[in-house]
Symmetry: C2
Subunit: 181 residues, 2 copies
């Protein structure tokens, strides 16, 4: 089984901080291995995602790259399959079976961009995939793509080495904390 990773393009400090953080936390919660982002370097995004992983477990990584193009070329050279999530692509339900087959043997990167998508992404991607051909949100696109790839199983996964975890409850909050001392 390959890994699912996310590549977030064109991050802008301040303006994109919350959305990029949401993309990363969503990827982590749904079982992706890492998010790499390009555009502006942003310590705030890195720290807030790392803090979540420290507390809530797992080994999700968040990293910055100066050149998303080099990152993508290296990834493909290493055998990975690149999926660009864009409303202009072929619709997810029409290709998801094929993507699941690919994921059994290869890593898969989900590329999402901010406001302006560099035209080169459409060419470098092995496939441009739409999560509906409607305008909405890169957070939703990443969430739905991962959920469909994993056929919903990731919603019930648990995280190793969590300091904090939730006991599911129909009314209220039940939180368990592991003290490390």
């Amino acid at each position: 089984m390959g890994r699912v990773i996310v590549l977030r393009l064109g991050h802008r400090v301040k303006r994109d901080q919350r959305v990029t953080t949401h993309v990363a936390l969503t990827a982590r919660a749904l079982g992706a291995s890492s998010m790499t982002f390009s555009g502006d370097y942003d310590e705030v995004v890195i720290k807030s995602v790392e803090r979540v992983t420290e507390n809530w477990g797992g080994d999700f990584k968040v990293e910055y790259t100066k050149s998303w193009e080099k990152f993508l070329l290296d990834f493909k050279r290493g055998g990975g399959f690149a999926v660009h999530l864009t409303m202009y692509g072929v619709n997810l339900p029409d290709v998801v079976e094929d993507l699941r087959r690919k994921l059994r043997e290869r890593d898969l990167v989900l590329v999402v961009s901010s406001q302006k998508t560099p035209p080169r992404v459409y060419e470098l991607a092995d496939l441009n995939v739409a999560v509906t051909n409607q305008p909405h949100s890169e957070v939703a696109a990443v969430a739905l793509a991962i959920d469909w790839l994993f056929e919903g199983r990731e919603l019930s996964r648990s995280f190793q080495n969590a300091r904090i975890f939730v006991l599911p409850s129909p009314r209220g909050k039940l939180v368990v904390r592991h003290d490390t001392h």
Copy 2:
């Protein structure tokens, strides 16, 4: 079949503008009927969602309410079922069948909050539901909840009266525009 609507709590102008807009556009793209938000009144959110609906079709509504509590009480009095999406709730896969049954006969509201969730929401909700018990994003929570409720069918729906629509393409952008004159 009931309708799915979204209630977004605690909107703050500027700080939440993009995330609230993403929640609305995601709800629209996935087949929800409307989003109502409380907190700060925000013309920017309303206008940008309305512009998307004008261009891309359908009849999604975005509305503001001063009192989310009154909204929720009225909704429940009218026979609707209130689901509060929170990481502390019971996990979506464990209750989705029951929610689908409810939706066959009743409207369903998905409540998402911003930073601080008023404790009263946990009580007023008929059910508190987690889309994983991990911290991530209200955009992803809304996306996955609607997708699971509709069993993925909404990803292939089309929108009435669209001025613009996309022809799905593996490489590049194919956009069709209807001129209205």
